[in-house]
Amino acid sequence: MSLVSAERLSLAYGGQTVLSQVDLTLDPGEIVTIVGPNGSGKTSLLRALIGAVAPSAGQVRRRPGLKIGYVPQRLHIDPTLPMTVARFLRLAGRVSRAQVHRALETAGVPGLSERQMSGLSGGQFQRVLLARALIETPDLLILDEATQGLDQPGSAAFYRQIEAVRAETGTAVLMVSHELHVVMSASDRVVCLNGHVCCEGTPAVVASAPEYRALFGPGTGGALALYRHDHDHHHHPDHPHDHGHEHGHGHGHDHAQDGQHRQNRNEAAE
């Protein structure tokens, strides 16, 4: 039985349709990534799946007793609220000290348990959120732009961790990300969303789909290729400066330039 499924799901806020007729099914153990431009309803879809918003039409089915580990896009802890990392992890329910240690280790931040949440760096904070999501061995891990505020190597490492966690625990993963090239390589399936499902399939299928290229421009195919260390990609036509072609990418790809590409594409998509 699938873990969670949306059937003909539509969502509207104040008369404004955010999602229409979305079908999505998640099976145990699979990694599914949702991509889409800003305002395409990615976060709304996640919120509908966890039951935080009621659909205006269609329905969401969750397997009875489904345990969800959720990593929100942003978590602001008010400075008036004292909270150690260990206490934060124990909020999830009855968990032992050993479980706290194991979850922090799995998330890649061992030894933080007695630190104050407010004293953590951005990367540590995101990993503690991941540890909290993992602590009760969820059937489904949901990550909403979980690497916001991390630099490129940091977020690449974060997603490698997610893959490792899936390999170890068999949890299904549903994530939303802007970092197409990093995320897509780790996904079994990619869903391209823009108010409705534009296209879906394996990363390679989606990256070459015309709907996807229409949203993100042809450069995205290059971004995926970039990840595969194939540097012969096509540059976005209105890219401000002409770089790269002359010196032929002697050693490895330039992450900063790649980020620049992505930003341009997002602006173009809005």
Binding site: L81, G93, Q116, I142
Partner: protein, 265 residues
């Protein structure tokens, strides 16, 4: 009989209110609902007026109106008005209607002052029973929902993903706030209830590393302020309710300075 001593009754009443106000006050601080306490307390004046008019117990009247007020705010939030605007409208309207309603009643003007500023020295044995039952109910309610309340306070989506409905937890807080206001109105009065909610919690913050520690420390500071404030009021012949709040404020000043010192060190 020990409870014959009015100072002892006053002290016990102050401690009871402080115990309920401490954990609740922590949530009020964490959730930035400081004005919510004010609004509920102001609304309670209308309740006092109505209960005097209808000759029912002041506790019941204050509780009913505080509850209605709290539920109204709960229901109206997120419908086009910001929370602070909504609270401002409801709180001041309720206070104004309360004062107007009181003016129709004969000969209770002096009593009204008592409800604005409280009259802890006039606490009867029955009042003491009401205060302690209310306080214990609030503490039990918050202890029961503690983890869910904390999760909902941190992030509503996190709560939903864990099967917690944050709206229900908000309702629990609202209910607890209404009960606290209703039992505290006679002791510290409307104007000082919000102070007793917020100041001990704020004073506890620099000393605490976990939410539980903050609630416990806030309770100790609140109870200490009640004891010392009443003692000071007796010695220096100062008004009792404000004296309690003054001691709490001094505690806040002290712990804040300690906190700054600890950060420098």
């Amino acid at each position: 009989m020990m409870l014959d001593d009015f100072m002892l009754r006053a002290t016990l009443a102050g401690i009871g209110v402080a115990l309920a106000a401490a954990p609740l006050g922590c949530f009020v601080v964490w959730r930035r609902m400081a004005y919510f306490g004010d609004a509920t307390a102001h609304a309670a004046i209308l309740g006092v007026a109505l209960s005097l008019a209808l000759s029912v117990s002041v506790f019941a009247g204050a509780l009913a109106v505080a509850l209605i007020m709290a539920l109204a705010v709960n229901a109206l939030t997120g419908r086009g008005f910001a929370m602070d605007t909504l609270l401002g409208v409801l709180a001041h309207s309720a206070l104004a209607f309360g004062l107007v309603a009181v003016s129709f009643l004969e000969g209770i003007r002096i009593d009204l002052m008592a409800y604005l500023f409280g009259d802890i020295l006039a606490v009867s044995r029955l009042d003491l029973a009401v205060i302690w039952s209310g306080a214990l109910a609030v503490v039990a309610l918050i202890a029961w929902r503690w983890s869910a309340l904390l999760t909902a306070t941190l992030n509503t989506d996190l709560a939903f993903a864990n099967g917690i409905d944050p709206r229900r937890e908000q309702l629990v807080l609202t209910l607890a706030l209404a009960i606290t206001v209703a039992v505290a109105i006679k002791v510290v009065g409307v104007l000082l209830i919000a102070a007793l909610l917020i100041i001990p919690a704020a004073a506890a913050r620099p000393l605490a590393r976990t939410p539980e520690a903050m609630a416990v420390i806030a309770a100790l500071i609140g109870a200490g302020a009640a004891v010392l404030g009443l003692r000071a009021a007796y010695l220096f012949d100062t008004p009792a309710g404000p004296s309690i709040v003054c001691v709490a404020a001094l505690a806040f000043l002290t712990t804040s300075l300690l906190g700054v010192g600890a950060r420098r060190a």
